[in-house]
């Protein structure tokens, strides 16, 4: 049982000044799980991602990945440990080509050295080719290979989101953290994204944690959902349980008497 537990987050908290952005957040992801993290705007979802990936250091609590404690590790060390992410407000390398964006992320498993690059060692050429092939493979998988030499900044929005996923995959992660991958996508793209996320999990044996506002996507693909409001977990369970949970409904729609009005508004 515990051998199957891949990501084990136990009671992490962080405050900024007097504001408790996330308090006592716990999450257990068994290997292969596809889980969702939802909550109203400002609930602290992205802060949780930043805590997991080491952008912020947690004030309390522990984060374990495959039994290894990640607390105190820098973001690049956590990436090396197997934690990859995408960003809500896309953070590609905008002036570099699509291919280079992915090739940079292959860097973790490369064994290159500065001298090897300067003197152009035999290993350098071999590795350079392997990295390029591997990156192209990922781009093909995400249907971006015909855009490989374009600057990342020139891609349409949906392609940029998928490029972020390709780049995260290139780091060879165990756990993939997706921060609102469907944001800005049209219904067709959203349908494709669901299939994509499922197929990536199968293909790479990934464990995925997903922040998403689009309930259609979340309820469809996630096996377990954690709901966050004001930095506190207010519910955890299967999509069906979450949809029925009064606390979740309240967090999203307000108190019961307000809920009626809001529901009416939605219906129109």
């Amino acid at each position: 049982m515990s051998a199957d537990l891949l990501l084990d987050v136990d009671g992490i908290s962080i405050s900024f000044g007097g504001l408790k952005a996330v308090s006592n957040f716990s999450l257990k992801l068994p290997r292969g799980r596809l889980a969702g993290l939802i909550g109203p705007n400002g609930a602290g979802k992205t802060t949780v991602f930043n805590l997991l990936t080491g952008v912020y250091a947690a004030d309390t609590g522990t984060i374990r990945l495959d039994g290894r404690v990640l607390n105190g590790l820098k973001p690049y060390q956590r990436a090396a440990a197997g934690l990859a992410r995408t960003f809500q407000n896309i953070r590609l390398f905008p002036d570099l080509s699509v291919l280079d964006n992915v090739r940079i992320a292959c860097h973790l498993r490369a064994q290159h050295t500065m001298l090897g690059a300067i003197f152009r060692s035999r290993h350098h050429y071999g590795e350079e080719r392997a990295i390029t092939e591997h990156s192209l493979e990922l781009l093909r998988l995400l249907e971006l290979d015909d855009r490989r030499s374009e600057q990342a900044r020139n891609l349409p929005y949906g392609d940029q989101r998928r490029l972020e996923i390709a780049r995260a995959l290139a780091t060879n992660p165990k756990v993939l953290l997706l921060d609102e991958p469907a944001a800005g996508m049209n219904p067709q793209e959203k349908r494709e994204l669901r299939d994509l996320i499922r197929s990536l999990r199968e293909r790479f044996g990934l464990t995925i944690l997903l922040i998403e506002h689009d309930m259609g996507v979340v309820m469809d693909i996630c096996e377990r959902i954690t709901v966050l409001d004001h930095g506190v977990i207010i519910a955890e369970g299967t999509p069906e349980q979450i949809q029925r949970d009064p606390k979740v409904i309240e967090a999203y729609l307000g108190a019961p008497e307000g809920a009626v009005a809001a529901a009416n508004g939605e219906g129109g």
Binding site: T53, V55, K74, P75, Y76, A79, G82, A84, F87, R91, L92, F93, P94, D95, L96, D100, R103, I104, C106, H107, L108, A110, Q111, H112, T113, M114, G116, A117, I118, F119, R120, S121, R122, H123, H124, Y125, G126, E127, E128, R129, A130, I131, E133, H134, S149, E150, Q151, N154, P156, R167, A168, A170, T171, N172, K174, G184, M185, N186, P187, G205
Partner: protein
């Protein structure tokens, strides 16, 4: 488990895809031999044809290319802002100077030129191609680079851990500290061979001329050394930029947070770029110190010099190796041209017309570029005409005109001459621009879809 398997697969593939050793050796060495060949040709064939003035100008261009391209590795590749490059140049210059000066005294009893044909700018120099003094000079250049690189490490390690403008402040401070340290030393430079022989080795670095400058250095810097240095600096910069190792530098410039999230140890990479840049700045300093007409003086290597280098990098386009090199050449020539602005009519047209044609052909907006270049040339002639009519001596306004030219260029091309591209990549954006348009319309279409949801 899956991770190990994947990594193994890529490494196994890398092993499989290695080209034959002979091919690698050729591809690795040929450009280096090319650089050596170019430097030899410049020194032995081109220099005699140029005359003293233009040969010296070409030498300065070579030195400045080393400086600008090395600073590009920090400011252009990793996007950090170093403004103390002359400090590393000073460290390299004084290290090399001390080794050459006191080394020569110990070996030959004087610090006259003992170099061969490759290490002299004097036309009538009688010597074999290479002598022992050349090796001493070469060793001194490398030593200067290494000491500068060590300083780079000591300065870079604490300041590059921090994000933001700390590096700018620290490097500026470093440059000034070096200058003040050198100026505050004794103004004595030993010249008596017996005294030098009697002074222990570790005492010698105290006698570097202080604020008066370190005079009496032999002039070993030649087109060969400056352009060999420039060629190798260009090669190293290019090979870094075109490798997965070097692309990690670029990722820091592009987005430091994303780079970290992708596993790039940003501090380590920044420090390495910084150390490498400091090494080349040190080598350039060594070449500068032994250049004809230069009297090594701490004031020459103050923040003014740092800014000169920085301007070359920014003007060329932050991140563009070829841009930095072109700007280095242009900004070395411009102040000299402004001394006695020559007419562009007549033989300069033989140079100007091909440059204009190539520039226009490479340009993304050829018409605009053509109009701009013709206007610039017309402005040059108008300036000459105006000065002649009013009897103004333009050379008095040299630095004003120089500054004016910089301002105009930065207004016309705020991203620098080449932006982040290399000169051979300039035509590429045409296709990208078309893609951008479809991207923009696609995006607005999607945004519309989003609203209706």
């Amino acid at each position: 488990m899956g991770m190990e398997r994947e990594t193994d697969r890529m490494n196994a593939q890398a092993l499989e895809l290695r080209p034959p050793a002979g091919v690698v050796l050729a591809r690795s060495l040929l450009p280096v031999l090319g650089a050596v060949g170019l430097a030899v040709v410049l020194q032995l064939l081109i220099k005699p044809m140029l005359g003293d003035f233009y040969a010296k100008l070409l030498l300065d261009i070579g030195t400045n290319i080393i400086l600008a391209v090395s600073l590009t590795m920090v400011n252009g590749f990793t996007g950090q802002f170093s403004i103390g490059h002359a400090g590393f140049m000073a460290v390299g210059a004084y290290t090399a100077a001390a080794i050459v000066y006191y080394g020569s005294h110990r070996i030959w009893g004087d610090a006259l030129v003992h170099g061969g044909l490759l290490s002299t700018m004097f036309p009538g120099h009688q010597a074999p191609l290479v002598t022992g003094a050349d090796l001493l000079f070469f060793a001194a250049l490398i030593a200067g680079g290494v000491v500068a690189a060590i300083c780079g490490y000591l300065v870079g390690l604490p300041s590059l851990r921090l994000k933001g403008d700390y590096l700018a402040i620290v490097t500026l401070g470093f440059g000034e500290v070096i200058r003040v340290l050198l100026e505050s030393q004794t103004t004595e430079a030993l010249w008596d061979p017996e005294q030098i022989a009697a002074t222990p080795l570790y005492e010698l670095p105290r006698y570097l001329g202080g604020a008066l400058g370190f005079s009496g250095l032999p002039f070993y810097s030649s087109l060969f050394w400056a352009w060999l240095g420039a060629g190798i600096t260009l090669l190293v910069a290019y090979r870094l930029k075109e490798s997965s190792y070097g692309r990690a530098f670029l990722s820091i410039r592009e987005d430091e947070i994303a780079a970290e999230a992708m596993g790039v140890h940003t501090t380590r990479y920044k420090v390495r770029a910084f150390v490498l840049a400091a090494f080349f700045a040190g080598v350039a300093g060594g070449i500068f110190a032994h250049t004809v007409g230069v009297q090594l003086n701490p004031r020459e290597l103050g923040f003014q010099k740092s800014f000169d280098i920085l301007i070359m990098v920014v003007l060329g386009g932050l991140g563009s190796i070829s841009g930095a090199a072109i700007a280095a050449a242009g900004l070395t020539v411009l102040p000299e041209l402004l001394r006695q602005p020559p007419t562009i009519m007549g033989w300069p047209l033989a140079v100007i017309i091909p440059v204009v044609v190539i520039w226009v052909l490479l340009s993304r907006r050829p018409v605009r570029t053509a109009v701009g270049l013709v206007l610039a040339l017309a402005a040059w002639e108008a300036m000459r005409w105006f000065a002649r009519e009013r009897g103004i001596n333009l050379s008095e306004y040299r630095m004003v005109l120089y500054a004016l030219a910089l301002i105009v260029i930065m207004i016309v091309r705020p991203q620098g001459l080449l932006g982040i591209r290399e000169i051979w990549e300039l035509r590429r954006p045409r296709r990208l621009a078309a893609a951008k348009e479809t991207a923009a319309t696609g995006e607005s279409g999607r945004a519309g879809g989003e609203v209706s949801l």
